[in-house]
C-alpha cells in the first residue's frame, strides 16, 4: 500500500474504503512527527479551482479527477501553527482523521488566521448573489453572521407595502438599504471575525455573555465549542431578522444593553429587517389600499368549483400586486412575519391524540428538544461579561472583551 495519505479520505469520503491504495489513518498516527492530535482540523476544500466544475469534494472519480497535488485553497495549516508545506510533505500537514470533519467535530478556530483565510476566500469566490443571508465559515457549525432573509420574505413585504400604497421606488430604496447594511455587516465581520466576548457555550467561566435571549434559543444542541465565535454578539442581527421570543418591543428595549455589537450599521439593520422599527415602518397597520402597481384591476375569481369545470382562458387574468379582494384585518399582531405569542407549554398535545409510539427505526437516541422552554423569556443581563475575564493573564483570540473593564478592575 502506498504510504501517501488518501485525500478523499481526509475529506471524509473515499469510495474505495478498505481497498484504497492510499493511507486511511483511522486515528491519530502515533508516529506523527508534527504531533497532530485526533482533532486535526481540515478545511473543507469547497472552493477548489481545479477542473472539477461541480466541486465534488470527496470523489475524484466522479466529475473529473483531481491531480493529487497541493490545492490552492486547501487549508494546509496545522495545529501547531507551522507553515504549510507543499506537496509531498504536504500530505502530513493535512492529516486528519477521516470522516471526523464531516460530522460535528469540535471546531475551535484554533488557528484564527487560517479560519479568516477561509472567510476571505468565501467572500471573494463563494459570494452568492443574494446578500440577505446568514453565513457560517465551517460546515455543520453555527452561523458567524446571522439574520437570514429569504426571497419570499422580501417579496411578501414588498407586496404588502404596495397594497398599502407605498410606491415602488420606496420599496426598492428600502430593499437597497437593507442589502447595503447586510453587506456592511459582512465586511465588518470579515475585518474582525473574533471581536467580542467569550460565548457562553464554550466559556470555562460559564458566563452569560451579552445575550438577550437564552443561548439555547440560538445555538443548537450539537457540541458547539467555538472559541471566539461572536455568536452572541450577532444576536442583534438575528433579532432584526427574526425575533425569537416575546414581542418586538421588549427586544429593542434591551438592545441598549448591547454594547458588544460588531455591527456599526446596526440601526439600519433593524430598519430594514423584519422587526418593527426603522424608517420605513411597514407594519404599522394593514389598510385596504387600491392596487399600488395597478396594471389590471383585480378580478373576482369564483372560489371553489362546483365540479371539474373548464374555465375560459380569460378567467386567469394577469393581475399584479395584490389582486385579492381585500386584506384581512390582522388579528393580533402587526408583524407580517408573525411572532408566536409566548405560550407556556407549546408542545403539549391539545387533544387526546396519542404520540406515545415507541421509536422504532432510528438508531440514535432521540435528542430532547431544548427549545420548548426558551424563547419565552427575555433575559436582560446587567453585567454582561463575566468579571473573571479581567483576571485572566492572557487572552485567547476571541476572548478579548470589547468593553472597558469595570472600575473594580482598573
Amino acid at each position: 500500500m502506498r504510504k501517501e495519505l488518501c485525500r478523499n479520505f481526509q475529506r471524509g469520503s473515499c469510495r474505495y474504503g478498505e481497498n484504497c491504495r492510499f493511507l486511511h489513518p483511522q486515528q491519530a498516527k502515533p508516529n506523527n512527527p508534527f504531533g497532530f492530535g485526533s482533532q486535526q482540523q481540515q478545511q473543507q476544500p469547497q472552493q477548489q479551482k481545479s477542473s472539477n466544475p461541480f466541486g465534488f469534494v470527496v470523489q475524484s472519480g466522479g466529475a473529473s479527477s483531481r491531480p493529487n497535488q497541493f490545492q490552492p485553497f486547501e487549508n494546509t495549516w496545522s495545529r501547531t501553527g507551522s507553515t504549510p508545506s507543499a506537496a509531498g510533505g504536504g500530505a502530513s500537514a493535512q492529516q486528519t482523521t477521516g470522516g471526523k470533519q464531516t460530522q460535528s467535530t469540535d471546531h475551535k478556530c484554533t488557528d484564527p488566521a487560517a479560519c479568516k483565510r477561509v472567510m476571505q476566500d468565501d467572500f471573494k469566490n463563494e459570494r452568492p448573489m443574494w446578500k440577505l443571508t446568514c453565513y457560517g465559515h465551517w460546515k455543520y457549525f453555527p452561523c458567524d453572521v446571522t439574520g437570514d432573509i429569504s426571497y419570499e420574505e422580501l417579496r411578501a413585504l414588498a407586496y404588502d407595502e404596495a397594497k398599502r400604497g407605498i410606491p415602488l421606488q420606496s420599496i426598492v430604496e428600502r430593499e437597497r438599504n437593507l442589502q447595503n447594511s447586510k453587506i456592511a455587516e459582512f465586511e465588518n465581520f470579515l475585518r474582525n471575525p473574533y471581536k467580542g466576548s467569550v460565548t457562553a457555550n464554550q466559556s470555562p467561566f460559564a458566563a452569560p455573555t451579552p445575550s438577550i435571549f437564552p443561548p439555547t434559543n440560538q445555538i443548537n444542541s450539537s457540541p458547539p465549542a467555538f472559541a471566539g465565535f461572536n455568536q452572541q454578539a450577532a444576536f442583534p442581527n438575528t433579532n432584526a431578522g427574526g425575533l425569537s421570543s416575546s414581542g418586538p418591543l421588549n427586544a429593542f428595549a434591551s438592545f441598549s444593553h448591547q454594547s458588544n455589537n460588531q455591527q456599526t450599521t446596526f440601526p439600519n439593520t433593524n430598519a430594514g429587517g423584519v422587526s418593527s422599527s426603522g424608517p420605513s415602518n411597514a407594519f404599522a397597520s394593514f389598510n385596504k389600499q387600491p392596487n399600488a402597481f395597478g396594471v389590471n384591476t383585480p378580478q373576482p375569481i369564483p372560489t371553489g368549483p362546483s365540479g371539474f369545470q373548464t374555465h375560459p382562458s380569460v378567467a386567469f387574468k394577469p393581475a399584479s400586486f395584490g389582486p385579492g379582494p381585500g386584506l384581512p384585518t390582522t388579528p393580533q399582531n402587526n408583524n407580517i412575519f408573525g411572532r408566536p405569542t409566548p405560550t407556556p407549554a407549546p408542545n403539549t398535545s391539545q387533544t387526546a391524540f396519542n404520540f406515545n409510539v415507541p421509536v422504532a427505526s432510528f438508531t440514535a437516541p432521540a435528542v430532547d428538544t431544548t427549545n420548548t422552554s426558551s424563547g419565552t423569556e427575555l433575559q436582560i443581563q446587567g453585567d454582561p461579561v463575566d468579571s473573571s475575564i479581567w483576571l485572566k493573564e492572557k487572552w485567547n483570540p476571541g476572548e478579548i472583551p470589547e468593553q472597558a473593564p469595570p472600575d473594580a478592575f482598573v
Binding site: G61, A63, T102, E126, F141, T146, G242, S313, T351
Partner: protein, 348 residues
C-alpha cells in the same frame, strides 16, 4: 429585428418544453402533482391555486385547466393528500386551506399560524397536515379540528420542509436543519447546522430515508446522511453557477423511480444528478427567468417547472407589466434520469 420575437421565445423556453396555459398572472410559488394521477396544482403570488389535468400519450402532452380557488394573499405552498383527492394550500394569509377538488368541494380553512405559511406536507402515516411558518413553529393539524394537534417550536423561521414518512426534515433560517422521526414527533431527532455556508433554500429527504439533500443560495447542494456510520458518505457539490455568478438552488426533487434527483435554480436551469455515482446526468438549457419551483409527477414521467421571477434580485427587477410566469412540462428521457454506474477510474 424581425426575428426578435422568435429569439425571445427561444430564450424563454430553450428546452422546448410544453407550456401549460393559461399561465398565472404572477410568479408561481409551488408546483405539486397528485400522487395518484397526472393532475398538477400551481400556487401563485397572484393569490390563486390552480389545477390542470395533464394528459400524455407517448411524447405528446396536453393540459386542460380544471379549477381554481383563491386566498386573500399570495399563496406560497401546496401539498396533496396521499389519496389524491384533496389539495392543501397556504401562504401569506397565514392560513392553510383544504380543497377537495376531486369531488368538487369547496375549500375550507384547516390551519392557522401567526405568520405566513411557507411549507407544508401531508403525513400519510398519521393523517395529519404539517405546516411550517415564519412564525418559527411547525404545526400538525387534524383537518377536522380547529386547534393543532401539536405545535413544535423551531429555532428560527421555517424555510423548507420535506417528509418521507417517518422521516421529516425541516430547514430554517440561519442554517438550522432539524430532523424528526414522525413516530415521535414531539422530539427533535437531530438538529444540525447546514453543511452549506449560506442560507438554506430547499430540502428534500431521500426516498430511502437515509438522509436528505439541502440546497442553498450559494449554488451548492449538500448530501447528508443521518446515520453516524454513514457520515463519510456526506458531500457537497456546486451547481447553478455561471462564471462568477452564483445562483441559488431553489428546488430539489427526487425521481420517484430511479432515485436520481433534479435541481432547479435562479439561473433558469434545471439539472439531473445521480448522488450515488456523483455525476451530473444532464444539464438542461437555461431559461431566461429563474426557476423557483419544480416537481416530478407520481411516476417520474413528467417534470414540471416554473419559469418566473423569484425575487432573487429584489423588487427593482420586478416589472409587473412585462413579467411572464410560465409553467413548463418536460418529459425526462431515460438517459437524463436513470442512475448511472460509477465511473471507473482505473486506479487499481
Amino acid at each position: 429585428m424581425a426575428t426578435f420575437g422568435a429569439a425571445a421565445n427561444a430564450n424563454s423556453n430553450p428546452n422546448k418544453s410544453y407550456e401549460v396555459t393559461p399561465s398565472p398572472g404572477d410568479s408561481i410559488s409551488s408546483l405539486s402533482f397528485s400522487p395518484r394521477a397526472d393532475i398538477l396544482v400551481a400556487t401563485s403570488w397572484d393569490n390563486h391555486v390552480r389545477c390542470w389535468e395533464i394528459s400524455r400519450s407517448g411524447t405528446s402532452i396536453a393540459s386542460a385547466p380544471k379549477a381554481s380557488i383563491s386566498h386573500d394573499q399570495p399563496v406560497l405552498c401546496s401539498a396533496w393528500k396521499d389519496d389524491g383527492t384533496t389539495v392543501f394550500s397556504g401562504g401569506c394569509d397565514k392560513q392553510a386551506k383544504m380543497w377537495p377538488l376531486l369531488s368538487g368541494g369547496q375549500p375550507v380553512t384547516v390551519a392557522m399560524h401567526e405568520g405566513p405559511i411557507v411549507a407544508m406536507a401531508w403525513i400519510p402515516g398519521m393523517n395529519l397536515l404539517a405546516t411550517g411558518s415564519w412564525d418559527r413553529t411547525l404545526k400538525y393539524w387534524d383537518t377536522r379540528q380547529q386547534n393543532p394537534v401539536h405545535t413544535q417550536q423551531l429555532p428560527d423561521k421555517c424555510y423548507a420542509l420535506s417528509v418521507k414518512h417517518p422521516l421529516m426534515v425541516v430547514g430554517t433560517a440561519d442554517r438550522n436543519l432539524i430532523v424528526f422521526n414522525l413516530q415521535n414527533p414531539q422530539t427533535e431527532f437531530k438538529r444540525i447546522q447546514s453543511p452549506l455556508k449560506y442560507q438554506t433554500r430547499c430540502v428534500t429527504a431521500f426516498p430511502d430515508q437515509q438522509g436528505f439533500l439541502v440546497g442553498s443560495i450559494e449554488g451548492r447542494v449538500g448530501v447528508h446522511h443521518l446515520d453516524d456510520s454513514q457520515q463519510t458518505k456526506n458531500f457537497t457539490f456546486k451547481c447553478h453557477r455561471d462564471g462568477n455568478e452564483i445562483y441559488s438552488v431553489n428546488s430539489l426533487n427526487f425521481h420517484p423511480v430511479h432515485g436520481t434527483f433534479a435541481t432547479a435554480g435562479s439561473d433558469g436551469a434545471f439539472n439531473f444528478w445521480d448522488k450515488d455515482s456523483k455525476q451530473r446526468l444532464k444539464a438542461m438549457a437555461r431559461c431566461n427567468q429563474p426557476i423557483p419551483c419544480s416537481s416530478f409527477n407520481h411516476d417520474g414521467s413528467i417534470y414540471a417547472y416554473a419559469a418566473c421571477y423569484d425575487w432573487s434580485k429584489g423588487a427593482e427587477n420586478h416589472n409587473p407589466a412585462t413579467a411572464k410566469s410560465s409553467i413548463f412540462l418536460h418529459l425526462p428521457q431515460e438517459n437524463e434520469v436513470k442512475a448511472k454506474p460509477r465511473v471507473a477510474t482505473g486506479r487499481k
